[in-house]
């Protein structure tokens, strides 16, 4: 089992490192390394039930077609299993890390279901494809390709996917497939630059991004004042610096996120502080406030 877990780790790490190169830039303010992400992404596969059985592994093995009966089919099975697990994990942490990403992903998922497109995992990435018959493995568009698409494809909320499909067919030799997370991130960067987030991809009425962020930020600061400043757990000076760090986070949330590592936002405001002091004195508080901020944004997006 150790050998399989080590193989799974190495595979997950390579998928994260090579197939998700831009990930660290979009993981807003999460203090997590690629190694930790690789471990977290495979850990659920090795969970056991009360009887001690590796239920997920067994179920995946039994459901796999064609039957696994040779070394090459076994290795391909492990490779696919890990690739899917990594992809699922990435979607989850992107959702958790960024409420705007989560909101847009929901809208795109709704569109996929409504129009009858399909999702297909290929080489560790979920792609939107037109139908079940999609068979291509080569020339798959990547996040760089999506990032470089003309902006006007992304303004028509209802037809974003079909417009991107049409563009690929008419202007490129690429396979007609859209990497889902890359598309969501691209849409996010476009709508954030417009400062208006569509309520859904089927509704032209938008919500003011700044208004959402400001409301969430105010709630978060209020929470800090009540729970920490008024109870003399932190001073006014400390509170002001933490407030500035939270403002910087909301700015990055709006602009697309550029500074992974939550602690970096706080250390910017406390130049004398080293990482060890941060861990001892501020980490719990700051992570708690960041969680409140994300929760508030998510709630605003739901209303």
């Amino acid at each position: 089992m150790n050998h399989l877990i080590e193989l799974a780790y190495k595979t997950a790490y390579t998928y994260l490192n090579h197939r998700n190169k831009g990930l660290s830039k979009v993981l807003l303010a999460e203090d997590i390394t690629l190694q930790e992400m690789a471990i977290d992404s495979i850990a659920p596969l090795f969970a056991r039930n009360e009887a001690g059985d590796f239920v997920k592994l067994i179920k995946a093995f039994e459901n796999w077609t064609p039957k696994i009966d040779t070394e090459d089919t076994a290795q391909f099975f492990v490779n696919r299993l890990i690739a899917r697990s990594v992809d699922k994990y990435i979607s989850e942490i992107l959702r958790e890390s960024d409420p705007f990403f989560s909101k847009i992903l929901d809208s795109i998922t709704y569109l996929i279901d409504k129009v009858g497109y399909r999702k297909r995992n290929l080489i560790g990435t979920t792609y939107i494809v037109e139908n079940e018959n999609f068979m291509k493995t080569g020339a798959l568009p990547d996040s760089k390709f999506i990032n470089e698409l003309p902006l006007d494809l992304f303004y028509d909320n209802i037809n974003i996917i079909s417009k991107v499909f049409d563009y690929i067919k008419s202007n490129t030799d690429k396979a007609v497939a859209i990497p889902l997370n890359a598309l969501v991130m691209k849409i996010k960067s476009v709508v954030m630059s417009e400062h208006r987030l569509p309520d859904s991809c089927c509704n032209e009425q938008g919500t003011e991004v700044d208004s959402i962020l400001n409301k969430a930020l105010n709630t978060c600061i209020e929470k800090m004042n009540v729970s920490y400043v008024e109870k003399n757990k932190i001073s006014e000076i400390e509170a002001n610096r933490i407030k500035q760090a939270l403002i910087n986070i909301t700015n990055d949330l709006r602009d697309g996120g550029i500074n992974p590592g939550l602690h970096k936002y706080l250390l910017e405001q406390f130049p004398q502080l080293n990482f060890k002091d941060y861990e001892e004195k501020y980490q719990n508080l700051f992570e708690y406030l960041f969680k409140i901020l994300k929760k508030e944004i998510a709630e605003q997006l739901r209303t």
């Binding site: 089992m1 150790n2 050998h3 877990i5 080590e6 193989l7 780790y9 190495k10 595979t11 790490y13 390579t14 998928y15 090579h18 197939r19 190694q35 930790e36 471990i39 977290d40 495979i42 850990a43 090795f46 056991r48 590796f54 070394e71 090459d72 290795q75 391909f76 490779n79 696919r80 290929l122 080489i123 068979m135 291509k136 493995t137 080569g138 020339a139 798959l140 990547d142 396979a175």
Partner: protein
């Protein structure tokens, strides 16, 4: 390109096998994969994946795996390194000069020991077959252990050392690790 090749679909498993198990891919598919630029990126990725799987893991990563995945058992490691001797032996047991090109060796043997001299491993190479014998210098039965052969990072599990490990190929070991599990 052959006209018939146009109807052949290259699947994800074909490209995977092209890198990991090329003998499992038909010549028509190999030709298609090699002639098209479409697969170059995926092939590069799988080559990276293959390389990464041959790399040993750092102890810090093993510790993290053990802390987050209960099924991963943290093992006690014993590293064994080759003794300076590297003998070539004829079937009748006579030793041959190691650098003699005139005499063809039938078998080579390499002995590995750990710093505390608690374990000894003999690697006997018969050309197309390698046998690995694990001994306790205290003459005890060695139970529940992995043999890791470096630099190939070949891992084999054994319940005990009553039988040698047999590998159906010529293995040149530089270091051997024994992993014991609680």
């Amino acid at each position: 390109m052959n006209e018939n090749n146009k109807n052949i679909e290259i699947s994800e498993q074909d490209v995977f096998n092209y890198v990991f198990f090329k003998d499992r891919v038909s010549s028509e598919k190999i030709q298609l994969i090699e002639m098209s630029k479409d697969y170059s990126e995926v092939i590069s990725f799988y080559i990276e994946l293959k390389k990464s799987q041959d790399q040993p893991l750092a102890i810090e990563i093993k510790n993290k795996l053990a802390s987050k995945i209960p099924a991963y058992r943290k093992a006690n490691y014993v590293n064994l390194y080759p003794l300076k001797e590297n003998l070539q032996i004829k079937p009748n047991g006579n030793r041959l000069a190691a650098d003699s090109k005139e005499l063809k060796a039938k078998m080579t043997t390499k002995t590995f020991v750990d710093n505390d001299k608690e374990y000894m491993i003999k690697v006997l190479n018969y050309g197309s077959i390698t046998k690995v014998f694990v001994f306790s210098t205290k003459d005890e039965v060695v139970n529940n252990f992995d043999i890791v052969i470096e630099p190939h990072n070949l891992v084999f599990h054994f319940d005990d050392n009553s039988e040698p490990l047999k590998i159906e190929k010529d293995i040149e070991a530089e270091k051997i690790e024994l992993r014991f599990y609680p």
